[in-house]
Point group: C2
Chain length 163, copies 2
DNA sequence: CCAAATTGTTTTAAGCCTAAAATGTTTTCC
DNA sequence: GGAAAACATTTTAGGCTTAAAACAATTTGG
């Protein structure tokens, strides 16, 4: 009796460590995100979601569909609709209906959009480097590895719930 | 010539690794946060910010001021005002003006609020455990350590900007 | 004591975000 | 071919979030 299997099913497990880990992960992200948001606003008067959307498009010279963007950014479709609307309005994005599938909207950075993004991205990269400055290259590698494992674990758990 | 010091100041540094690390950190957090948000809504029809606020208050039986809450949750003051308004409205929170300082609002969980939070928190803990299930205890310890280092580094960088 | 600075909160204006329902388009498959 | 399913996007309703300004109360320093 009281073998590990019995124990596992009958004793309420202690998950305090995982909870603390989650809170710490959230704290780090919130801290860095807030810092980046503030610097983007101060230096370039741009919001973080706008910057993130432009970053996605900068990596896709041939443009992306709204669905692609919403999957990559992990936000809802409706969210992207509004974000794109404002960025088209300000002249940073070009949007056109696909020739082959009239459901699909393809968006691209305009010349202005690309130029502004490149300017911001270069500075953004130095901010990130500064925020992580106390981590050694080994720390960075190790964090990358552990976060990859975390991501896989969370995706598996999400798939279990919603197969 | 071309000694490491010269190189460090004249060559544009490569910060691609830190950038990738930041994106991965953000992905993990977004993934888990979205999962938790969805489960809270499905199971308890409650939003994540409401849950987070109640979690803070559960740890403070004597109540907290709005400022305390906003610092702990790392959100703006105005944000807390609205959140608290809705939670008072729904009977989960009790709010009163401090006797000794009439600027200060002290909020507490009501009996209902505490009961509902405990019920949700217990299930929430198992979700988190499941989301991190593939991490070994050693992984968890190592992540805790590296994230602590990350937090300290980011705080230092933030303090450099805004002393 | 009292003006000035500080502190705690709310208000304002704008934008972000989600889930769910609605709309229009294409694909599937009988 | 045509109904049904699937897909891409938009709309809707409501809540979250921020920065900045406004307001109220307390503390500080002459």
């Amino acid at each position: 009796m009281l073998d590990s299997e019995t124990k596992a099913t009958e004793t309420p497990e202690d998950h305090a460590d995982e909870l603390r880990l989650w809170l710490r992960l959230l704290t780090c992200t919130t801290l860095i995100e807030g810092e980046v948001r503030g610097r983007l606003r101060e230096r370039f008067d741009v919001t973080l979601p706008r910057f993130d959307l432009m970053a996605q498009l900068d990596k896709a010279p041939d443009g992306m569909t709204l669905s692609d963007v919403s999957k990559r950014m992990m936000v809802s479709n409706g969210n992207v609709t509004g974000l794109v609307e404002r960025l088209v309005e300000s002249g940073h994005l070009d949007r056109r209906t696909s020739e082959t599938d009239r459901r699909v909207q393809v968006i691209r950075l305009t010349k202005l959009g690309r130029a502004e993004f490149r300017r911001m991205a270069s500075e953004h990269e130095t901010w990130i480097a500064d925020l992580f400055a106390d981590l050694t290259p080994k720390d960075v590698r190790e964090l990358m590895r552990l976060l990859a494992k975390t991501k896989a674990s969370a995706q598996k758990s999400a798939a279990r719930r919603r197969p």
